[in-house]
């Protein structure tokens, strides 16, 4: 609660939260709100500039691309790939990674240290590189990108949670609980977990921005979500051929990506600040 109050008092954090909420809402309501289908082609209205341009039309608010598809609809539908799938991936990786990490944090000795070294290897390989290797094995497609990024993010959660649990386990209150004869399960879920929630939340925002950027980068390289799916990175790569005549095709998806990642980063940053504030005050 204290964290939330601190967080709330930061206007940047709040606006970032609203921004993120807005994008998420857009994504969820895209099928209802978007004016057209993402792949509907208006072959008589090709490369129409956005509505604020002199040649633009209100009907196609963000203009149309070189095949006559409405950009606003594509960006809204694209959020499902560029934000929706990363959220799913992070949830999935988070649940598995946290469970494994908590287990690893409670154990000690050889098993734990072996796991730690294995994780070191995996974590030293940048997530994008690892995802690229997995794509090389499975081939580029949406499902494979989801699998690759989940596999890549799980070790990061394990590592973060393990270290957090490890740090807590020697603290007095845990020792006290142990001496009271509480079961390991009880200690983990009722005593330690509430105290490392913030770590998990922070790791989640970090993983989310990683997942978004990686999915977009894979799309940009042509190794991720395949067209005509309106994934933002793929759209950006495909728009480069038209960059002179229709710069908005490249700028809009890039801007959408930037705003999403930016708001997530500001939220994560403010959370960290708010947590530090609470620690300082307590």
């Amino acid at each position: 609660m204290q964290v939330w109050i601190n967080f709330q008092s930061n206007p940047f954090a709040l606006s970032a939260l609203y921004c993120f909420g807005f994008i998420t809402l857009m994504m969820i309501l895209a099928p209802v709100l978007s004016p057209f289908d993402a792949n509907q082609q208006f072959s008589d209205i090709i490369s129409l500039p956005p509505s604020w341009d002199d040649d633009g039309k209100m009907r196609y608010f963000f203009g149309t691309d070189d095949l006559g598809r409405d950009m606003l609809s594509r960006i809204m539908h694209g959020a499902r790939y560029s934000l929706g799938y990363p959220i799913l991936i992070v949830l999935f990786a988070g649940i598995i990674g946290t469970a494994l990490g908590a287990g690893a944090g409670m154990t000690r000795g050889l098993k734990s240290s072996t796991l730690n070294h294995l994780l070191d290897v995996l974590l030293s390989i940048p997530s994008l590189l690892l995802a690229l290797i997995i794509i090389a094995i499975l081939g580029p497609s949406l499902e494979n990108v989801v699998i690759a990024l989940s596999l890549v993010l799980i070790p990061q959660f394990i590592h973060a949670v393990r270290n957090a649990v490890h740090d807590e386990i020697y603290k007095d209150y845990v020792v006290a609980a142990k001496l009271n004869g509480c079961s390991t399960w009880y200690i983990l879920t009722r005593v330690i977990l509430p105290n490392i929630t913030t770590v998990i939340v922070m790791q989640t925002t970090l993983a989310l921005s990683t997942a978004i950027l990686d999915i977009a980068a894979l799309g940009f390289l042509g190794l991720g979500v395949q067209p005509p799916a309106p994934e933002w990175g793929t759209m950006l790569a495909r728009s480069l051929d038209q960059v002179y005549l229709s710069p908005w095709l490249m700028i809009l998806p890039g801007l959408a990506l930037f705003l999403t990642v930016f708001s997530i980063n500001v939220i994560g940053d403010s959370l960290r600040a708010a947590i530090q504030e609470r620690i300082r005050n307590s």
């Binding site: 082609q41 095949l67 495909r238 051929d241 002179y244 005549l245």
Partner: protein, 576 residues
Amino acid sequence: MRAMRSNPKQATSTFTQCLQKWLAPLSVTILTACSPAAESDQPQVIPEPLQQGLVYCSEGNPESFNPQLGTSGTTVDATASQIYDRLLDFDDQTKTFIPALATNWEALDRGTRYRFNLRENVAFHQNALFQPSRTFNADDVLFSFQRWLDQNHPYHYVNGGQYPFFTSSGLIRLIERVEKVGPHTVDFYLKRPDSSFLANLATDFTVILSAEYGEQLRANNTMGMIDFRPIGTGPYEFVEFRKDILIRYFRHQEYWREAPAIEHLVYSITPNANKRMLKLITGECDVIPYPLVNELQALDVDGKIEVASEVNPNVAFWAFNTAKPPFNDPLVRQALSHAVNRPAIIDTIYSGNAQLAHSLLPETSWAYSEEVNRYPYDPKQARQLLAEAGLPNGFTMDIWAMPVQRVYNPNAQRMAELIQADLADIGVRANIVSYEWNTFRRRLERGEHQSVLIGWVADHADPDNFYRPILSCAAIGSGNRANYCNPALDQLLIKAISETEQAQRRPLYDQIQNIVSQQVPVLPIANSLRFQAHQADIKGVELPPYGGISFRNAKRLSPAELQQADSDANSEEQPQ
């Protein structure tokens, strides 16, 4: 203040190092870059190596440096006119054959024997492995032809042993033998008269290699080198090839024609169309193929860049793999043909710079006939045909789209997206498939595709060249992407090529055209113009309609010459 200076000494020393290392050049850069006036006043600022050099930003890696081995346009562009010569060339202006390595030739024995007299004192290139001891003679002609004609030739199976052009054009079965008559005379014996024989010899694929080089490599047991460290008689000598980066050529000083004006020719490999265009604007490229024409025209390039266009004998088509169901059913192919909105493709993909194709033959060909099925855009008809074929609920299929631009198709992937949307209307769900270009071609050859967006550029003007390489049984695995084999059609094709009079051939080609448009193994899409963009001070880059690019007559005009040329000719078009 004293203390403040003493401590960061380390930092400052690294900082100065850094300054020296790259900030200094950077500041120089910015200084010079910010004063373009200074540069244009002093043309000597351009370092000497850059003055007589030319950078051509090519679209991909060649598969090898011998056009005999493949049909890829990229390989042809990089090799045929630069490294090699042919026995004769085709002059598009006069529509005649002109002498090249052969000084003259005559048809004997009612067109079943051709005698060629060869040019003397033609020097071969040299490289670190090879110093030629003699000039070009009949042995080299024999070596170059026997390599693909004779399965027992030591080089026949080197580097793959596939000679797709010669197989699909039928040359391999047409030539019975090649005989050396004198040191500079050879005879070609044909199995039957063939009206396209000379045209085939003038194509980019029928190049002349060095027999002496071949022997030397064979003695050193490095035979594979012959196609990767090439030796020819052409205007440019091969120097080095770095995959994905560049190909370097130097001028061939002893070239038998006038040696080229360009001393140093570099192919800078830039697969990305958008980057090619940007590099042309920044001046990193002097010449680029397949420019994004619309973009360039919209740019304000101050007359610094010229875009040349010309009619080119090409056709883009959508080939259905007729060896795989349901594409073996003509009804399905007809349905798909009706489902595609081709006029929209011409507008969006080609930006109007192409003509809707109704037949494989371009309208400019003498054998073209108006009487063909035109497959207008008609989704209703398409659905009906599908129902007749027993597929009322549609099906799922793959569309393979090339990863590169070709002269006939500036953006296959975009085209595939358009077709995908059209097919969705008739209940056919299409997946777009693409691989890296060389992988793509390999898989096509194995027939792994269901349908593919590809095309054809003719090697010579004879109508035969639009049918046999694309639809004959012999061309399966090379140009025949539909894997279409129809013995009746094959017979007609042979009959049409054995006749020499247009009047007799014409009705045969009408028949052929009718069969093809009925069966639609391939759906013709467009005949596109061929574009090339270059810096205004580059002149003489040639794009022969039936061949790859040639830099033999290219040159860079000095600013003075450029002004002269500008004031001279406002009405005169620049040479093609």
